[in-house]
């Protein structure tokens, strides 16, 4: 059988569409140059020894460093504990939300908890952890009178990361639980199983691959996290911070490259298992859309303790988040609380170039976000709706970016662009410019946008676009008049997510930023490192304000200009 002619014709039809071809070429070039190439150069660099010979000498050198091997075991330990903790808390929240009757107040708490990590910078919880439980923490020192409590180290990181990442698990597991057909559980109840037995023999086994999935997602997030270990880790170094110190402290770029390769290998492995094994299994065990609504558990002996437990935890998380804005109004944290003052904000803007920091962060993110949103919609469109040879490549690379920790990408960009592409000087001018920072922002937010774009597009009947194509529209017209209007909501939220992710990003950017740019996140990190928590809080408060208003604006926008509800019911 020869498929030659069909393939040749498909190719010819594709070529008849110059805009599409150009888009695909530009995309491939972008993905290769800014995602694949930096990772490739890391590999090359770490296998070429200082004398220029090919071999394992660099790896041998870093594995001889005791602090590196400790960092590996530290990272894995934290990742494991955080993964387990987040899945358990997430499951509790998800179960209570889906199965137990809740009043409006508790429902509201749950919503806030799920939203908070989205709008807040990554290290807010570390800051508030130190401010609440540290040496001069309000709770430890003032309420309990403990003067030497140390939050730095393993437990600090583990607690803060668990509180940061469990909402992600909660949202994932909620989706899964909602997809379990209640009649399965009712059938088990009907045959005489107790509620506990139903959970252990029906719900839990159905959920198991999903739990594994959530665990690995959190695990990857945890080992890739840079900001929290940086602020609250103290001397407890993880891989991400070790790599950062190897570059900024020891100026050992080859060593850092090799370390980055190790970190990348770990996350990639986890990512592969998660993506290709567990995700498929999760989908396979789902029974599809629930045929009818689930009967809530109204039994007070179950309902009251679960609701109280979850509400207390939710309140605690919310307290941790509001602690930062409140802290920025205290004259001296831990010593003097009254009268409330605006002096830290004043200092931010007068002495510490606050205005420039906000302008730089804002402008760079503002440029990056529409590009990211548009790119991710184009990628989703190509992946879901078109078929061409390079499609697999585009999909794989944009998903790969999801598994790449920011620190690894940062090192890759340093190695890849500081001396030009392949150290030839080509594109060297890019290094240190705002353009490169914008590109880093784009690469960092692209996978999230693409993922949401893909799932939005999958819900749209393929024949809607085909019909437009059939009526005589070319790909560009189809995309502009049909695809984009139909996924407007997804595009808008992609826009804001990209903006929020960019303006709160730190892991990759901290390695690449030059003195000419002041970024808020980098400032917060610096002040927190120095122990000026009030200043860090003031910076963080303004950052939260910006991100929160972006999200609010988006919601208003979607409400008035988004796809109308009526159309949505069609899908």
């Amino acid at each position: 059988m020869a498929k030659g002619q069909g393939a040749a014709l498909d190719r010819k039809k594709l070529m008849a569409d110059p805009i599409l071809i150009t888009t695909i070429c530009v995309l491939i070039a972008f993905l290769t140059l800014f995602i694949l190439y930096p990772l490739a150069i890391l590999l090359v660099d770490s296998f070429v020894s200082e004398e220029g010979r090919f071999g394992f000498s660099v790896f041998k050198r870093i594995f001889d460093m005791p602090n590196f091997t400790t960092a590996i075991s530290n990272t894995l330990k934290v990742g494991f504990v955080v993964g387990i903790g987040s899945v358990l808390i997430g499951l509790l929240f998800a179960y209570v939300e889906v199965y137990v009757e809740m009043n409006k107040f508790v429902g509201g708490l749950f919503k806030v908890v799920s939203l908070l990590p989205v709008v807040s910078p990554p290290f807010v919880l570390s800051l508030s952890m130190i401010m609440l439980f540290g040496k001069s923490g309000i709770i430890t020192r003032f309420l309990l009178g403990i003067y030497d409590n140390s939050v730095y180290g393993f437990w600090g990181i583990a607690i803060v990361q668990t509180l940061t990442f469990f909402p992600v698990c909660y949202m994932m597991l909620k989706g899964l639980l909602k997809n379990i057909d209640p009649s399965l559980e009712e059938a088990a109840r009907d045959m005489g199983a107790s509620r506990m037995k139903v959970f252990t023999s029906v719900t839990f086994p159905l959920l198991l691959p999903g739990l594994g999935n959530a665990f690995l997602v959190t695990f990857i997030e945890s080992i890739a996290d840079f900001a929290n270990p940086m602020i609250i880790g103290g001397s407890y170094d993880t891989l991400a911070t070790t790599i950062y110190l190897q570059i900024t402290g020891a100026y050992d770029k080859a060593g850092a490259a090799a370390m980055a390769v190790v970190l990348l290998c770990i996350t990639l492995m986890m990512f592969m298992v998660q993506k290709y094994y567990l995700e498929a299994k999760t989908a396979a065990t789902l029974t599809g859309k629930a045929s009818r609504a689930r009967m809530f558990i109204t039994d007070r002996s179950v309902k009251i303790p679960l609701t109280i437990l979850c509400s207390l935890m939710a309140l605690f998380v919310i307290l941790m988040y509001v602690c930062v804005p409140i802290g920025s109004f205290f004259p001296t944290w831990g010593y003097k609380f009254f009268p409330l003052t605006g002096k830290w904000f004043k200092l931010v803007f007068t002495r510490y170039h606050g205005f420039k920091a906000f302008k730089d962060s804002f402008v760079l993110s503002f440029i990056a976000s529409p590009i990211t949103a548009l790119l991710s919609m184009i990628i989703s469109y190509l992946v879901v709706k078109r078929s061409f040879r390079a499609k697999g490549f585009i999909e794989a690379v944009s998903m790969l970016a999801m598994a790449v920790p920011g620190t690894v990408l940062g090192v890759g960009f340093i190695r890849g662009f500081a001396g030009g592409v392949f150290h030839t000087g080509f594109l060297q001018g890019l290094y240190g410019t705002g353009t490169l920072l914008v590109i880093v922002f784009i690469v960092r937010s692209l996978p999230t946008g693409t993922r949401s774009g893909i799932s939005a597009l999958r819900q749209i009947d393929k024949s809607i676009e085909e019909s437009a194509y059939d009526m005589g529209a070319d790909s560009f017209t189809v995309f502009m008049t049909v695809t984009l209007p139909l996924i407007k909501d997804s595009f808008l939220s992609g826009l804001v997510t990209a903006f929020v992710r960019s303006i709160t990003a730190i892991s990759a950017i901290i390695l690449l930023v030059t003195p000419q740019f002041l970024l808020i996140t980098v400032q917060i990190n610096e002040f927190a490192e120095k122990g000026s928590f009030s200043l860090a809080c003031a910076f963080a408060t303004i950052l939260i304000l910006i991100t929160y208003s972006a999200v609010v604006l988006m919601n208003i926008f979607i409400k008035y200009f988004g796809t109308s509800r009526k159309i949505k019911e069609d899908f």
């Binding site: 498909d10 024949s463 529209a473 017209t477 069609d570």
Partner: protein
């Protein structure tokens, strides 16, 4: 619409797909040649997976044939993309643009052709009148019933005045009664416009009601092409006979000729059938007997035993055993006829001219 009508010709078309599970390649459509005359209504009919939709999508341009060439009129169109082909398709799911109202949906193709707004308006209103949707142009598509949505889809395809109209199972999402109304409507409009139409369906009554010609497909190849009558009365093979309507198959050995009749030995009894082809002596042939062509009698014909007898209102439904062969038959208007009960012995009779020898 004073446009020249065009036919469609397929020359040795094949399409190869890969089974996603086994990775094996197979022919979805194999070496298919067809000629569809200008202005005719042709149906591609077959069970699911027979290659009918693939064939239609190749004509529309969404799939590219792996072998062979497709012509629209005299022009080869293999290399043209769907938007450059002079065809318009009506989709199974209607595929209306949900963010546009009825008018904008219908006007979409005209706007792409950059016609003047007043021309567009005139054409759209005319076509909406043709599909009986006057006054609905301001509605959003989700405010319409399924049948109305299907009319919009049809209007949208008609308004760009294509040479060929393609239908991909357009009625399968409608309920039974609406389906019957809509197919009459589609036939009326096609006749009024005089356009060439190619229609894919798995519903034989739809195919019968609509078509000038039916093309029956099975496992990627054309099993038979012909008018509904030809296909019903003179099926090429067992598959076609069984697929269109109900069919009983009687096996009989050819003994001799008797005038225009051939005498077959069926389950040990001699019975004459009309000789519709050359037959060889002592060979066993299969005879197609339609349920409505047979009846039961006290004597004559083939002896049989009743195994099911069921009153259906307009007819009495029988299953009888003729030797080892099960025959299903229907006696219409049974009110004043003798009803045979289960277990009764009787005789199966049929007109020698109303059967078809395969």
């Amino acid at each position: 619409m004073a446009k020249e009508k065009k036919g469609v010709t397929l020359e040795h078309i094949s399409k190869i797909y890969k089974d996603p599970k086994t990775g094996k390649e197979f022919y979805a459509v194999q070496d298919t040649s067809l000629t569809i005359e200008p202005g005719t209504f042709v149906t591609l009919l077959g069970p699911s997976g027979c290659g009918k939709t693939t064939t239609l999508r190749m004509i529309a341009g969404f799939e590219s044939p792996d072998e062979g060439e497709i012509y629209l009129g005299d022009e080869p169109i293999n290399e043209l993309t769907p938007n450059k082909r002079d065809t318009a398709m009506v989709f199974q799911s209607y595929a209306l643009l949900p963010h546009y109202n009825v008018f904008d949906n219908v006007a979409y193709g005209l706007k792409l052709r950059k016609l003047a707004p007043e021309v567009i308006k005139e054409k759209v209103l005319n076509i909406l009148k043709l599909v009986k949707l006057e006054g609905m142009e301001g509605r959003m598509t989700n405010q319409l019933s399924g049948g109305q949505q299907q009319r919009v889809a049809l209007a949208r395809a008609l308004v760009i005045e294509p040479s060929v109209l393609l239908f991909d199972e357009p009625l399968s999402n409608l309920d039974a009664k609406l389906r019957v109304d809509m197919r009459t409507e589609i036939r009326r409009i096609q006749q009024e416009v005089g356009i060439t139409a190619i229609y894919v369906t798995h519903d034989q009554s739809e195919a019968m009601a609509l078509s000038d010609n039916i093309i029956i497909m099975n496992k990627g190849v054309v099993a038979q092409m012909g008018s509904p009558k030809e296909i019903y009365y003179h099926p090429n093979d067992k598959f076609v006979a069984d697929f269109i309507g109900e069919a009983n198959f009687l096996e009989g050995k050819y003994l001799k000729d008797e005038g225009e009749m051939a005498i077959l030995e069926i389950e040990g009894n001699e019975y004459p059938v009309f000789k519709n082809k050359d037959m060889k002596k002592d060979e066993v042939y299969t005879v197609v007997l339609r349920p409505e062509a047979a009846s039961l009698a006290e004597k004559g014909g083939l002896p049989c035993e009743v195994v099911l007898s069921c009153f259906m209102g307009s007819y009495q439904n029988y299953h009888v055993m003729v030797g080892n062969t099960l025959v299903k038959l229907q006696e219409f208007n049974p009110k004043h006829k003798r009803i045979y009960e289960v277990g009764e012995k009787c005789h199966l009779v049929f007109d020698p001219e109303s059967v078809h020898v395969l």
